[in-house]
Every structure is written in C-alpha cells, then in structure tokens.
Amino acid sequence: MGNSAVSRDRAGQFPFLDSLPFGAQPPLSAPPHFPPPMPNSQPPNPAAFALLQPAGLTSEGSDQSAPQSPLQDPSDLHQLLQSNGSGDAEDQLAGRHSAAPATDPDESPSTTRVVRDSTGRALAIIHVQRAPSNEPLFKSDATPDGLRTGAKYAQINNAVTGNPVIDRTTDMLLAVLQQSIIAMGSGSGPLFGTRVHVDFAKRVKQLDLPGIGQKGVEQGFRLNLVDFVRYGMDGSIRTDVTLRDPKDPYQRSIAVYDLKTGNAVLKPGRVKEILDNVNTPGLLVIELQHRTGDAIDRTRSAPPR
C-alpha cells in the first residue's frame, strides 16, 4: 500500500524520510514498479490525455439533424443497459495504455471511449485516468465478480477498466446521465451544466447504487484527512460521484466520476487534485462526458479564428 504513495512522491517531496522510525530503510530506495500492461495494451502515448477529447469532437460528424438518442423514454433506465450491444457501438480512441515507463513518473495509463447510438451519433465519452500506482487495483480479498451460468448481464459493453464493479457502475451512471440530459432538454452553457449536475446527483442518490449510496454523491475530501468532510472547507474538493468497493471491508474509494457537460473536459490539474485529496492507491478518475446536440453544435458553430 505504501509503495504506491512513495512512488507518487518520488520527486523528493516526502518530508519525513529522516524521521523514519527504527532506522527503517527509506522506501524510496525501492525500484519503481508498475502494474503489468492490461490486455490489448498499446504503446504509451504521452499526448493522449490532452488530445483525446478534441479528437473525439472532430471525429463525430454529428449535426443537429442527427436522429435522437434511442432512449426517448426517460423512465426506462434499464433500456440502455439491457440492449444487447448491437445498437451501441464504441470507439476506443486510445487503447489501454501500457504502464508508464519508469523514467516518466507523471505519465499514467488512460483510456477513452466514445459511446455511440445505432446511428453512429456520439452519446457519451468515458475517459478513465488511472492513479499512478504500483499497487494492484483492488485490495479486497473478496472474490471478484465473475460470469456465472444463467445470470443476465448488462450488455452495453462499455468495459474500460476490467473491474466489473466499476464498469457496471459506469454503465449505470451513463444511463442516468442520459436520463438527465433528456429530462433537461437541450441547452448549453454553465447554467445548463449546473442543472444537469443537480438533476444527475438527484437521480444517482435515488438509485442508491452499491458503493455509492447517497453519501457517495457530492462528497467532500481534503488532503491530510482520512475521512470525508463537509463541502466548502478550506482546501477541500468535492467529487461528483465517489465509488467505494462494496466488497472491501474498509470501503475504500476505487473510482471517482467527474461529470462534464458541453465542451468542458477533465483537465490534468483536476485529475491531480482529485488523486491528491482522495488519496487512495489505485484510484481511477473517470470522466463522464455527455454530448448533447447543442453542445456539439456549439463547438462546431464557433466562429473561425
């Protein structure tokens, strides 16, 4: 557990090395170790994080006349999840990056996917930024979910992390977001974004999802504090949704979802802020970005420079 924290502080910012008890070896002397590449890994792409979102936009080709989402009925949350996947397709803009090279501590694996409807129109963008860590993702010793004969599984197939709990939650949250967008109608700008956030938060709380419940929505964290805190405390941050491992007896956070609307994107600075404050090894920061027609059009209709 501590190795990951140490690797994050490799830049010499660990202030208490000299006071390690009992003459313990400073853990920084351990060689850096990164998780093995995930299946289908591709070579690391340092520019991926900055370029993925624009790439997603320019490759869309959707316009206002594009058919609407198949989810016309906001009351049917499960429609999206229970589709067999033939309707929704995904683009993997950047495949799962292999582990960052040891010479570049700032780089961490990331994955981005565009979820499309049956017409090819972009519905959402999921961006996963993995916390730099040499720890395995999950500390729980519980058996991870596996496929079981006779069970029914959501077929949206947006799996981007390899953890069924996270991927299933991501699918659920995307479906909730879809409902929010439909309920909000079309719009753009910061006020629209606020309305979507409020509506999204309400819906997620109502669902009382495993690992999120009601406390996991709009939760405040502050660096140096193990526990979470009230919003507005000096130096604290607030996450849109925090997922804790429901099988972990310690209920540690395993993913933080950051909702973005319109053309807002999750910036590296914000990712760092979340990782620092939540301060859990192996944490994933997942950007949920829903694309409405208006939002895309706003970009496309921007005056040429």
Partner: protein, 212 residues
Amino acid sequence: MTMSGKALKLIQRSFSDLHLCRDMLVVPPTDHIIRCFCFERTPYKGLFYFWRVVLPLYTQWPVITLRYSERLAKGNYVDLSESELEQSIEDLVRIISGGELDDLRAVRGPQEFLDRFGGASVGEGFTPMISPFDAALTYYLVGNIPFCLDLLDDFASEDLRPGRVDVHLSARDLARAMRIDPSAGEKRIKALEEINIERFALGPTVSSHKAH
C-alpha cells in the same frame, strides 16, 4: 446570519433540549461522543444537505468529519431559500422527531459507538469502518487495552502516506507510552477532548462529570 444558522435556530424551537453550538445542533450530554445535526453547503445557492453526525469527541482531526454520519432526508437537497424555508423546516422537524433524534441519543458512549459502527468483528478487534486511531481509543475507553495496543501498532506500522505522517507517529508514540504506563491513554483522550470541546464550542453540552 447564514441560511443554515437561521434554519438550525428554527429547528431548535421544536427541540428545546438541543444545544446550538456554532453550526451544529448538539444532542446533550456530550460525554465521549459528539452527536449532532448540521447542514452542509452545496455548490448550489439555497440548497443544503442535512446530516446526522456522530463523531468521537477524542477525534484527532480539527474539523467535523463525516465517516460515521448519515445524510438525512434520503440524501436529497434541503431548500433553505426564503420561499421554501418554512416547509423545509417542517420536513426536517418531522424527520428528526421520526426517530433520528432517538437514534442519536442511543449512541451515547464508546461501547454504543463500537456496537453501532464496529461491524461484525468488533469482538475480535477488527473494526474496518472505524478509523484506526478512533477505534484504538474507543477500545481503551471500554477497557480493552490489548485491542487498543494492537490497533495502534498496526496503524503505526503501516507505510507512511502523505499528510498522515503525524497521525502515524502519534499512534506509535502513544503505544510506546501506554506500554510504560497504561494511563497514558487516558491522558491522551482527555487532552484531545479538551481541545475539541473548545474547538467545537461544546462546553454547554458536556456531561457534568466531564465539566468538573
């Protein structure tokens, strides 16, 4: 006066035995456990969360943390804007008197705190939902010094992490001191509680034996 402060005052009218301590409506008496209701701001003007808070008085954190707390009103926003205030207060009073206050009153001391949050393995010294330092001091207060020392040792031997070094070192020092003189635990708890009574303005709510 802030929106939330005004709302707490209005709620207090219906529960005369509760004390308003800064931004918390505290259930007396405060012995070793703080029990209160409070609002939490949100990024949205006029909208708040309403919390039922439980926290050991011997917490080492200088702020109210929410690990042992619950959002009330099913986690929904509470609208405290002028037009909705009256209705919201009515709803909250109903929620508090509908069992939440009794629920808080039931968590009066360290043993009740352990029973409530310790989990199934509390009898074996394994309390994953309670932070290690809180759990150690709670075990101390219920007279289980071996579990207290185990927890402090385990915590102190965890790898150091940014921002938590002081707490780790403090746990290590406390364990050492307690091995020499077990009353060191009591001294530490007393010191922390005195600081927190002042910090959170809990003076009027502390139980009489503690006040003396």
